[in-house]
């Protein structure tokens, strides 16, 4: 197993765009004998766009986004709520699924996706990404191999996240200073003229949380007012464009 992991992190290290990541995921999925391995970046709002890098068959992912399955996909919805990793598929949560969700799982099965293991990734405010290992196996044997390889799968998941975070996410650098994703989000809404209260409503966190992030933005950028921070962001964007 350590060779698979070493090849995987070496591959991540050499990956600099979504295609590089995809082939690294494909190679690892093959080595782990899993048909699918995926990284989903979750939007702050539950109805925002999910971006996906996956070793899934592209015919399935294209179909998935065309039908806007991300809005009803029970795995995405569960990853929004859950802090803990979870196993899904085959008798999972059946009674809670709507008819459309049941039909969605049946369609996924046609593409060889029957069950999976999903690791949600969160920051202080909520879900930001999820890593999924999916399988066409019977649930029972899949759970056995997940249990056996739990540590390495978790380490693969966070390694994947930190590389994706560094190379594929917007850089969040303002005036040479790295802001966190939430700090950047709050600052961007401030540039749109939104108050802390309005931003809190938009991104679904508390008023105090937005104020906390904006206070950190001011400290990190070494400015006294939010207006100055907004000016720094705007100046940077003019220079970059």
């Amino acid at each position: 197993m350590h060779h698979i992991f070493q090849r995987f992190v070496d591959g991540l290290n050499d990956s600099h765009d979504p295609n590089g990541f995809r082939s690294t995921l494909e190679e690892a999925a093959l080595a782990l004998d899993l048909p699918c391995f995926a990284y989903a970046r979750m939007p702050a709002q539950i109805d925002g766009a999910v971006s996906l890098i996956a070793s899934y068959p592209s015919i399935w992912t294209d179909h998935y986004f065309e039908c806007h399955y991300e809005a009803l996909d029970p795995v995405i919805l569960m990853a929004h709520q859950s802090v803990e990793p979870f196993v899904w598929g085959e008798e999972w949560n059946e009674s809670n699924l709507t008819e459309r969700q049941k039909a969605f799982f049946e369609e996924a099965a046609v593409f060889g996706i029957r069950c999976g293991f999903t690791i949600p990734i969160r920051d202080g405010d909520g879900p930001i990404a999820a890593v999924t290992f999916a399988s066409s196996e019977k649930r029972e044997s899949f759970v056995r191999s997940i249990t056996m390889n739990r540590r390495v799968l978790q380490l693969m998941a966070i390694s994947l996240h930190c590389h994706a975070r560094r190379k594929l996410w917007p850089s969040n650098i303002v005036a040479g200073v790295q802001l966190s994703a939430r700090e950047m989000e709050c600052l961007v809404w401030a540039t749109q003229g939104k108050s802390a209260w309005a931003t809190a409503k938009i991104i679904g966190v508390s008023d105090a949380t937005v104020r906390f992030h904006l206070a950190n933005v001011r400290t990190k950028l070494r400015v006294c007012s939010l207006r100055q921070a907004v000016a720094l962001l705007n100046r940077g964007q003019t220079c970059n464009s």
Partner: protein, 209 residues
């Protein structure tokens, strides 16, 4: 005992690395309540994608109870890219003989029971950092830390030379500083910590296929 985990050997230390991220979760998320990203009870940030070298403290039973992350100062690092505000407008020190340490963590049980007394695990990890530095011909380790760790460093006789003013960041009072790497510094730490030999052990071959 401390082990040195370099990027080419991550695969040989899957268990230890998983435990390290879990330790960081317990310390930075649970105990200190920092704004960090977590998954499956582990903490990770984008600097972990820069192929850092880790020093890990392993107990007799194999449990990882301490860690520190090391990155060259000439590449991206926390002080230069995330917290330059702590430098009061000065340039971030950089050079082949300077590395940065971050995510220094020790399990609660290894912090020591008595206030004002530095635990032997803390001395061991500090000595390991100096030994690593000497083995790579470093002169300095720079770091972003908080005033709490700054006090511990002073008590351990390995004082932090401040690179800027301490500032409130999130819920902690953060400070940037540099630490001396020298034989003298190592001897002082060994003497103060009652350490009798090397703290850091390094694997010399890759595991067989």
């Amino acid at each position: 005992m401390l082990v040195l985990v370099t990027p080419d050997r991550y695969g040989s230390f899957i268990d230890e690395l998983t435990q390290m991220h879990a330790l960081r979760y317990r310390v930075f998320k649970k105990r200190l309540d920092w704004e960090v990203e977590t998954a499956a009870g582990m903490e990770v940030d984008s600097f972990d994608a820069l192929q850092p070298t880790y020093l890990l403290r392993r107990d007799g039973d194999g449990a990882v109870s301490g860690c520190v992350r090391l990155l060259p100062s000439q590449g991206p690092n926390m002080l230069r890219n995330t917290f330059p505000v702590l430098l009061d407008g000065r340039e971030c020190p950089a050079g082949p003989d300077i590395w940065e340490s971050s995510r220094f963590a020790l399990d609660q049980a290894h912090l020591g029971q008595v206030a004002g007394i530095v635990s032997s695990s803390t001395y061991e990890l500090f000595a390991g950092m100096v030994e690593f530095g000497l083995s790579r011909n470093l002169s300095t380790i720079i770091t972003v830390t908080d005033v709490r760790v700054e006090r511990i460093l002073r008590r351990a006789q390995w004082p932090l030379a401040r690179l800027g003013t301490a500032r409130a960041l999130g819920n902690t009072k953060a400070v940037a500083g540099s630490l001396e790497i020298s034989r003298t510094a190592l001897m002082r730490l060994r003497h103060a910590g009652n350490l009798h030999g090397p703290a850091l052990w390094v694997p010399v071959i890759d595991e067989a296929a």
